[in-house]
């Protein structure tokens, strides 16, 4: 049990490492991934525990490796096998692994010790399957298991160019011999770099290495006009320097170097790591595991795919299939695979990679790398956008409403102006009839004068001058009326306040006369300049004046006095006060004065003061109403004086 747990943990760790190094960079995602793995792992354990009860005997698989633990190709291969088998087995599988490490300990004595060790270690152990990963020879697939565990079926996986000895078959062994896809790799070289004229092949001197080189030489025959150089007589240690100055049109192809001339072992991944980064030309490889450290690519053996196939084969054998009936599979299929970073380095277009090719190490797009973060951000952004949209809509609505209110206020201002005009109609008709009457009388007089034999031309000239004047006077009255009646929004202009006051008093004068009200105007000696809308302010003034006159309707005639007084206040504002001598405003009504529809008049609309307040406040002023100390009420409003 202890061992089982350790192994699974190790697998997990391995997988996690891989997952981490390949795809995950965000610490949060690592955490997530680990948690997920842990979770799945637990699930797996439970699942397995469940099957244990039905199928109480776990399967024991011993994996025998010819090389050490750190051969990159093997690590991937082993992991792929384990994953495949665990995934598809109904039984719990315990994996055991042993490493001969033939690269470092190649003598026969060592092999004997290893064999001895295995024999002692696994004596009495119930092994269900031996999986062998031979490299230099097939002893681990044939003789050794046959000698130690003769009744245990064997499945092997070999990646090399060596022929499987006939002898292996007789031990009841099956397996997969994966050949390097040399033709495919050469084809990929020509495809990615059509200008290639020279291929430098780096290989070793062991039997395995020679076999590989032989296959390469054989395949090179198909390519005419391209020179193949086989660098086998140099120690690998010299190679990094040698590949730095290779001329253009050359590529390097890494073969296997189980032993170089100096007797050292180099795995293809090691070679790639040593040579590719500093090489002056692209480096191609035959094994997928050698990619990632600078090599450009190759039609490589895909260890994961191979592991999966091997796993399936092993499961069939575990399931009871007789290895003898399963022929040894020799696979030559490679997968065109390139390192995206190397493509960039050598400025090779991605479009040159064959359609079935795999491009590795492409920096994950933001989407790949931060999918969740992006989705989350998008969701947040969307929510934000919706919120903002909502707020904007609200603001739009509010603006519309405000515009509508402004519109209605203008409308209302217009209506009250019209009603003010209504109140002023007789006064205005009077205003207009004065000049018109004068004109009429003058023309009639002129007609009569002209009937004389000697018309008094002097008088007629005076008449014409008067007619002209009165005509202008009538025009002015109409203009005043028109501007007062015009439907309009606020137009701010600087103007002389005294002039406006005088004009307004004139407008109200005839009404005041008919109501026998004495209108008094008190203006500052220096005419204040005010910035505002003349017509609207005139409306306010007229409104206050008419109100004041209304308030005095019941007052004794001698008391009917309305004073309009303008003066500069201390704060730089101009204060205009309209004071009447009526009966004043009762205290309970004072605070409601400016409320819409509040009126003390029988026929009042109650809008005059409300509108006046709106207008004054729109000018940045204030309006208030109070009772005079002596008699009547006074309405005061301020306007900011124009500082210019």
């Amino acid at each position: 049990m202890k061992r089982k747990v350790r192994t699974i943990d190790c697998a997990c760790l391995n997988f996690t490492k891989q997952f981490f190094s390949l795809t995950v960079r965000q610490p949060a995602e690592v955490l997530f991934a680990v948690l997920a793995l842990f979770f799945f792992d637990k699930m797996d354990c439970f699942a397995q525990s469940a099957t244990d009860r039905e199928n109480s005997s776990p399967k024991h698989v011993l994996m025998l490796f010819n090389e050490g633990k750190d051969v990159p190709g093997n690590i991937i291969l082993e992991q792929a096998v384990r994953t495949e088998m665990q995934k598809n087995s109904t039984n719990r599988i315990e994996f055991l692994a042993e490493y001969l490490d033939a690269s470092h300990f190649s003598d026969k004595e060592h092999f004997r010790l290893f064999e001895d060790y295995l024999g002692k270690k696994y004596a009495g152990q119930n092994l269900d399957l031996i999986m062998s990963f031979p490299s230099r020879d097939y002893r681990l697939a044939g003789e050794l298991p046959n000698a130690l565990f003769s009744d245990v079926p064997v499945v092997f996986i070999a990646v090399n160019e060596m022929d499987v000895p006939q002898a292996v078959g007789k031990f009841g062994v099956t397996g997969i011999v994966q050949r390097f896809d040399i033709r495919g790799t050469l084809g990929l070289i020509m495809r990615l770099q059509p200008d290639t004229r020279r291929v430098v092949v780096i290989g070793g001197v062991s039997d395995v290495d020679r076999a590989t080189l032989g296959r390469i030489a054989e395949a090179s025959q198909a390519l005419e006009g391209i020179k193949f150089e086989f660098w086998t007589n140099r120690p690998v240690a010299e190679l990094p320097e040698a590949v730095k100055s290779l001329p253009e049109g050359t590529v390097v192809l890494l073969s296997t170097v189980l032993n170089d001339v100096s007797g050292q072992t180099f795995y293809m991944a090691q070679l790639a790591q040593m040579l590719a980064p500093s090489a002056s030309v692209p480096v191609y490889v035959l094994g997928g595991w050698a990619l990632g450290d600078g090599a450009l690519g190759g039609s490589v053996v895909d260890s994961e795919d191979l592991g999966a196939r091997a796993g399936q084969l092993a499961l069939r054998v575990l399931g009871g299939a007789n290895p003898k009936t399963l022929p040894i599979e020799v696979a030559t299929k490679g997968t065109p695979m390139v390192d995206w970073r190397a493509l960039q380095r050598w400025r090779i277009k991605e479009s040159r990679v064959p359609a079935n090719g795999v491009i590795r190490y492409r920096p994950e797009t933001l989407w790949d790398e931060h999918r969740n973060l992006i989705l989350f951000s998008l969701a947040v952004f969307l929510a934000q956008a919706v919120t903002i949209g909502g707020l904007l809509r609200q603001r739009n609505r509010r603006r519309k409403a405000e515009a509508e209110i402004l519109n209605q206020r203008t409308e209302l201002a217009h209506v009250t102006r019209v009603s003010t005009m209504g109140q002023l109609t007789s006064a205005l008709a009077h205003e207009l009839n004065q000049p018109l009457g004068a004109i009429l009388r003058n023309t009639e007089a002129a007609e009569i004068l002209l009937q004389n034999e000697k018309p008094d031309l002097e008088e007629i000239r005076a008449i014409l001058a008067d007619i002209h004047k009165d005509d202008q006077r009538a025009g002015n009255v109409i203009e005043r009326m028109r501007s007062l009646l015009k439907r309009r929004s606020l137009e701010l202009k600087s103007f002389d306040l005294n002039e406006l006051l005088a004009e307004t008093i004139t407008l109200a004068q005839s009404d005041a006369t008919s109501r026998q009200v004495n209108l008094i105007l008190q203006m500052p000696a220096v005419p204040p300049t005010v910035r505002g809308d003349r017509v609207h302010l005139q409306q306010v003034l007229l409104n206050l004046i008419l109100n004041g006159m209304d308030a005095m309707a019941d007052a004794a005639k001698f008391q009917r006095q309305l004073t309009v007084r303008a003066e500069m206040a201390k704060d730089g504002n101009v204060e205009i006060a309209v004071s009447d001598c009526g009966s004043g405003i009762s205290p309970d009504k004072l605070k409601h004065l400016f409320e819409p529809f509040f009126t003390t008049k029988a026929n009042g609309m109650g809008m005059g003061l409300a509108i006046s307040q709106t207008i004054i406040e729109a000018h940045g002023g204030k309006i208030r109403g109070e009772n005079n100390a002596t008699r009547g009420a006074v309405f005061k409003f301020t306007l900011p004086a124009d500082q210019k």
């Binding site: 008709a429 009077h430 004068a438 009429l440 009388r441 009569i448 008067d466 009165d470 004495n518």
Partner: protein
């Protein structure tokens, strides 16, 4: 074309300087004597009993307005006829003005013919009222010669009372009544009671006295 100028002056009262000037011009051109005033107060100040003619007044004026001018004029010793000339008249004002004896109520935009016609009528009426007033005054001067007692007796006589009744009413002798009658017919130069009654009526005497 010119209408025969009536005797008398047209007194124009209007606060609108321009209109005042224009209407003065028209009336002058039409052959009238014209005197212009820009306020009712100024006109009333200059009003004298011997002034004859009519008043052409605006209705709306600061200070005394047209109706108040009419009222003041009616109370004066020289109640000249008034024609109102208003820029804008309303019905209540018009009714009030006419009820108080205005000759006419025109707007400032009334045609010249209407205006001149109204002025002519007002002048005619003014002249007639003036001569009537003069005649009455002359008659009244004749009555002024009577003693208070003779006036008392006269009043009883024109009310158709017998001497005896008069003597009882006044608490005097019947013969004394006869003596007073003889004296007053002589002073008044009348021949009969009928003539005496007509004279009293013309002079407008005892109109408000109620029958005892």
């Amino acid at each position: 074309m010119n209408p025969p100028p009536e005797s008398g002056t047209v007194f124009i009262v209007d606060d609108d300087e321009s209109f005042l000037r224009s209407v003065s011009r028209l009336l002058r051109a039409a052959g009238y004597f014209v005197q212009a005033f820009d306020s009712a107060e100024k006109f009333l100040e200059q009003l004298a009993p011997e002034m004859s003619g009519c008043v052409l007044a605006d209705l709306q004026m600061p200070g005394l307005n047209g109706l108040e001018l009419q009222e003041a004029l009616a109370k004066s010793a020289n109640p000249l006829p008034v024609v109102f000339l208003s820029a804008q008249g309303d019905i209540p004002t018009t009714v009030q003005a006419m009820r108080r004896g205005a000759e006419d109520f025109l707007t400032k935009l009334s045609p010249k013919e209407k205006l001149l016609d109204a002025v002519r009528r007002a002048l005619a009426r003014g002249a007639q009222e003036r001569s009537e007033r003069v005649r009455l005054q002359k008659l009244r001067v004749r009555f002024d010669a009577l003693t208070p007692r003779e006036m008392e007796v006269l009043e009883h006589v024109v009310r158709g009372k017998m001497n005896k009744q008069i003597a009882d009413d006044l608490g005097i002798n019947e013969r004394t009544v006869k003596l007073h009658r003889t004296n007053l017919t002589r002073t008044l130069q009348v021949q009969s009671v009928a003539e005496l009654t007509r004279l009293v009526e013309k002079a407008g005497l005892f109109k408000h006295g109620d029958t005892k």
